[in-house]
Symmetry: C2
Subunit: 350 residues, 2 copies
């Protein structure tokens, strides 16, 4: 198989973790006789520093002309505390999601048995946790009209959704549920928001097309509690953009394996793969970041190409490193290996 | 002291827990020579069932003419799964907040040492947790323009904030921080939302008026993680309405004492006190609900009246019941006492 992969290293620890994924993909290509062609594009704080633009047109072009995008991380604190900054790294990522129509962000949340001691939750609350969050990614309050009054004293953001936007991601979530434990939970705030009531109506109406899937509904405040108190009740969680941002990050820490969690953003053709974790500028350049979130994202990329054997091989190599205590500093602050060492080890194993 | 208290029993377990608070307030009145006059008003599903209106005008009148409102709980599942219902219980509570201008919801989050085994978190993550959440309660997406297109296929909700709305609650939060550990954390999504950037700008500008308070800023997705991973870092958390709804519920379960947590909603004069927990229809009428959230809300009400000795007395009575294992079924499913028994016990102790 021959594929074009656009690579965006991004900010902070983005470059060093993504480089490990490239090593692993190269090893997969060699071993299984594929050709992966990488082209590199700029985005985020890195792109602002180099071009003044968080997402140069060339990067969009590059991604549109590739079969998939592999992305590191975005964001730098120097932009966060200046509310009047006109250009922000995150604008790049939001524009890329929109340009590639990546309307569904998919985040599997599962536990790694050897790492359970790192979880903030008690073992009994963690047992059996295995869910996946489908977060709408190109609509809602993220992309609605924004306004700041001329005198700067009133601001607004609009949240809007159409039935079509809800349906396309809901179909993906229903199908995922059919292949899993056949339960779909829509998280919304239908007791307050008009958009949430539309979500509920659309999803209720679609349920009859998926008779084997049990659908239930949960208010977002209750979902934020249930994710901690009883996370194993969830199979597929479907939710809108802003709620998904909050809940998927919340879900990612309960297992204690934040550094290991991958994500895929998919839509009409395009697909982007990135670890859940942020850009952690404090760790950047130190070769200590955990590359497994990125490497497992590369495994999702292989699945996306239909290379399931290869993806499984990467996952079992990752599992082997965990089982044999080849881990980065976030997992074991005393006996740890460097980012690059773990990358090489996994490349050797696939 | 002579005070008028409006009582709204509300839905589900609301009535039975609130009745325990009244017992306790009566005992306080007797013991310390105060007069509390109660008047009862309808709100929520109960009000819809009886009057067709989730908040009859008489209830608003009653509350406006009282010194404080003691409230039980709101909501019934029969309204939740009908997205086209025109009348919903929650509308009553939202309208009451607006009518009384209760712009700040205050939720203390602390641990009860004898109950730590109930927390989903490991003991080391819980140690030293003691924070309070200031949630804006009469603005944001809850109260912005809502729209559903005529054909029912597009919906929108507007989130808007003015600097004045932000300032009035921020002053309360800064003052609370001054009396506590002197740290204020603003939670927002300033990397995406215009309203969040206004929050950040306004709070940054106010910081110089409170030089003894350290201010920091956290994105809401990160806050959802930090509350679980390292909750003790927080002192006062300040945030907008929707984020506050999610985070305060999330925070309430980490300690394992959801049934014990009180809240106060305050504003220009008016004040409403209610437990954090919901209406739990499954438990309604069974005399098994935990009345401590309501009773500790009554303690906050006493503080609001300036009756600090009395409030402290109620809190130590509550503590005594916990220390001596006089607890409801949620705390000990085997050796438990009834709601009404706990209420009487605490009344006897004050
Ligand atoms: C960086 C930021 C704009 C982004 C988001 O809020 O979507 C991030 O938090 C994420 O979840 O991918
Ligand atoms: C009942 C509901 C409208 C309410 C809210 O969302 O504000 C509740 O969840 C709360 O937090 O008091």
């Amino acid at each position: 198989m021959e594929k074009k992969i656009a690579v965006i290293l991004g900010d902070g620890i983005g470059p060093e973790v993504t480089q490990q994924s490239i090593k692993v993909l190269d090893a997969v290509a060699k071993h299984y006789n594929h050709k992966f062609h990488y082209s590199f594009g700029l985005m985020g704080a890195d792109a602002i520093d180099k071009t003044g633009n968080p997402l140069p047109d060339e990067t969009i072009e590059l991604c549109l002309n590739s079969d998939a995008v592999l992305f590191g991380a975005i964001g730098h604190p120097k932009y966060d505390n200046d509310p009047s900054a006109k250009v922000r790294p995150e604008q790049g990522l939001l524009k890329l999601r929109k340009s590639l129509q990546l309307f569904a962000n998919i985040r599997p949340v599962n536990t790694f048995p050897t790492l359970q001691h790192l979880s903030p939750l008690k073992a009994k609350n963690l047992e059996g946790v295995d869910c996946v969050i489908y977060r709408e990614l190109t609509g809602g309050i993220y992309f609605g009209a924004k306004n700041l009054s001329d005198d700067g004293t009133t601001a607004s953001d609009e949240c809007s959704y159409s039935a079509a936007e809800i349906e396309r991601i809901a179909h993906l979530a229903f199908k995922a549920a059919q292949k899993r434990r056949k339960k779909l939970t829509l998280v919304d705030k239908a007791n307050v928001l008009e958009t949430s009531r539309l979500w509920r109506k659309v999803v209720q109406a679609m349920a009859s097309q998926y008779p084997d899937v049990t659908v239930d509904f949960l208010f977002v405040d209750n979902a934020a509690m249930q994710l901690i108190v009883n996370p194993k009740q969830f199979d597929v969680i479907l939710t809108e953009n802003m709620f998904g941002d909050i809940l998927s990050d919340e879900a990612s820490v309960i297992t204690g394996s934040l550094g290991l969690l991958p994500s895929a953003s998919v839509g009409n053709g395009g697909a982007l793969f990135e670890p859940i974790h942020g850009s952690y500028p404090q760790a950047a350049g130190k070769d200590i970041a955990n590359p497994l979130g990125s490497i497992l994202s590369a495994a999702m990329l292989l699945d996306h190409f239909g290379l399931h054997t290869e993806a499984a091989k990467v996952r079992s190599a990752v599992q082997w490193t965990l089982d044999n205590s080849f881990v980065t500093k976030d997992i074991d602050p005393v006996n740890f290996y460097f980012t690059s060492t773990i990358g090489e080890l996994i490349s050797d194993l696939v």
